[in-house]
Amino acid sequence: MEYLSIVFQEVYKILFLLVPVLVSVAMIVWLDRRVWAFVQKRQGPNVVGPFGLLQSLADALKYIFKEIIIPSSSNKVIFILAPIVTMTLALIAWAVIPFSATQVLADINVGILYLFAVSSLGVYGIIMGGWASNSKYPFLGAIRSAAQMVSYEVSIGVIIINVLLCVGSLNLNDIVIAQQNMWFVIPLFPMFVIFFISALAETNRPPFDLPEAEAELVAGYQTEYSGMMYAMFWLGEYANILLMCAMGAILFLGGWMSPIDVYPFTLVPSAIWLILKILLLFILFALVKAIVPRYRYDQLMRLGWKVFLPLSLIWVVLTASYLFYFNLLPVN
């Protein structure tokens, strides 16, 4: 019986985390389209509900009632598994995100490694979908995204090492608390810029959305998907984008801490601060989508391997020597 009560408590907590995440994914799709439209002097979705807020729900309803088509020559098990993998991986990563010093589902020692591992597993949903479709365009999209995501993971990993040098712990709460005096975005600003651009590439957002470049590959790895399975790919993609924003907020923008530690700001719950920071980063993501034209594939690879990787490696050496010289290394 005790086991059962523990299990129920945990399920409660998980639902309390997952339902808001899923709802905010739906809202964020609306926000994305809205920002995109405003940059181009359009209105965007504004018909369903106040300000068009319920547009995503209407879209979801439409997807539910559409037919799911499974190509006859596809590899059926993997074809069905692919969107499930994408969605699951995008959601399980939220377990370690701290919303305040105590509000975290799993406060594990290696939180940042867990986040990194889950985001690097994200490529499997795409590869599986592209391969199992047994069709040219999805396969090309999958191959492209495999190479792209592996390349940009490397620089994200090196950037994380930069932050970890200043923190001395892999725990996400420790990383947030280490930024009490100064957010890492100030001393590590070049790394923040590189992280942001790598996050764009890692989540296949424009200008790096080559895996689904509609001008060349129809819809890339999603070409053969329809109905709810397509919607799951789509939701997983946006949940991943939110996750990368949360990662950026925790690593560089002070996580759940208020920007100024004085009276009226400290009244605001810390979860609100984290959400505001995630939103700020997401609006930047949406603006980039509207402003920047798509990269060519060789330029993308050049940027990842020849620019970002050496830069972030040099910055690791710089950070380490600075911390060592001024005796600031976090030793416990």
Partner: protein, 210 residues
């Protein structure tokens, strides 16, 4: 304790079954997917014995990078169409002795390690290092790797680097006729070298590039 046992047996059964399926499945891409499943369940087992750093690194390095490249190669070479004919074909039977020798060697090694750990536990000194401190295992790994074993650690890094450079040198070849883009050239182009204004008389025309 019961929950621990349930999780342990679940993960280990998945690991063993998927390891068998890696060799037994007919489609090569399926084999790689089973290999990934195997890696994931092994890293779950690592996390269960408290080696969370190892487990996560296993996920990042093997599943996140190595297996992706595996899949990449298997898909690109299109070996998925060639069926795995281990049990049916006669050609593959000449590899069986080599495989048997290697697997016997690995089996003997495992027996030695497990037997030693069972009957001479003082050799391994695991209990001391766990009991005396309560620092996280990332810290303890770092403290051992960067002090006592720094030379071994650096040498293994150098070996990996040399292997990488060697692989690049072996496969690199200069191809002629490839047009490369040079940003500096493009940006520093002047109007004078790109455009030329010519006087053309009517009804006469002009010859360019001779």
């Amino acid at each position: 304790m019961i929950a621990h046992a349930i999780f342990f047996y679940t993960f280990s059964i998945i690991a063993v079954v998927s390891a068998i399926m890696v060799t037994a499945s007919k489609n090569t891409v399926h084999s790689v997917f089973f290999l990934i499943l195997d890696f994931i369940s092994i890293s779950c087992l690592f996390i269960m014995i408290g080696a969370e750093f190892l487990g996560m690194i296993m996920l990042i390095v093997y599943v996140g990078a190595v297996a992706v490249l595996f899949l990449f190669v298997v898909m690109m070479l299109n070996v998925a169409q060639q069926k795995n004919q281990w049990f049916a074909g006669q050609q593959s039977s000449k590899h069986i002795p080599v495989g048997l020798i290697i697997s016997t060697l690995i089996f003997v090694e495992v027996i030695i390690v497990i037997g030693g750990w069972k009957y001479k536990p003082e050799i391994f000194d695991i209990n001391n290092s766990i009991a005396q401190t309560n620092i996280s295992n990332t810290h303890s790994l770092g403290q051992i790797l960067y002090t006592d074993y720094i030379h071994v650690f650096q040498i293994s890094g150098m070996i990996l680097l040399v292997a990488m450079v060697g692989a690049i040198v072996l496969t690199f070849r200069q191809r002629s006729g490839v047009k490369r883009q040079s940003y500096i050239k493009q940006i520093s182009r002047e109007r004078a070298e790109g455009v030329e204004v010519l006087e053309v008389q009517s009804n006469k025309g002009i010859k360019i590039d001779d």
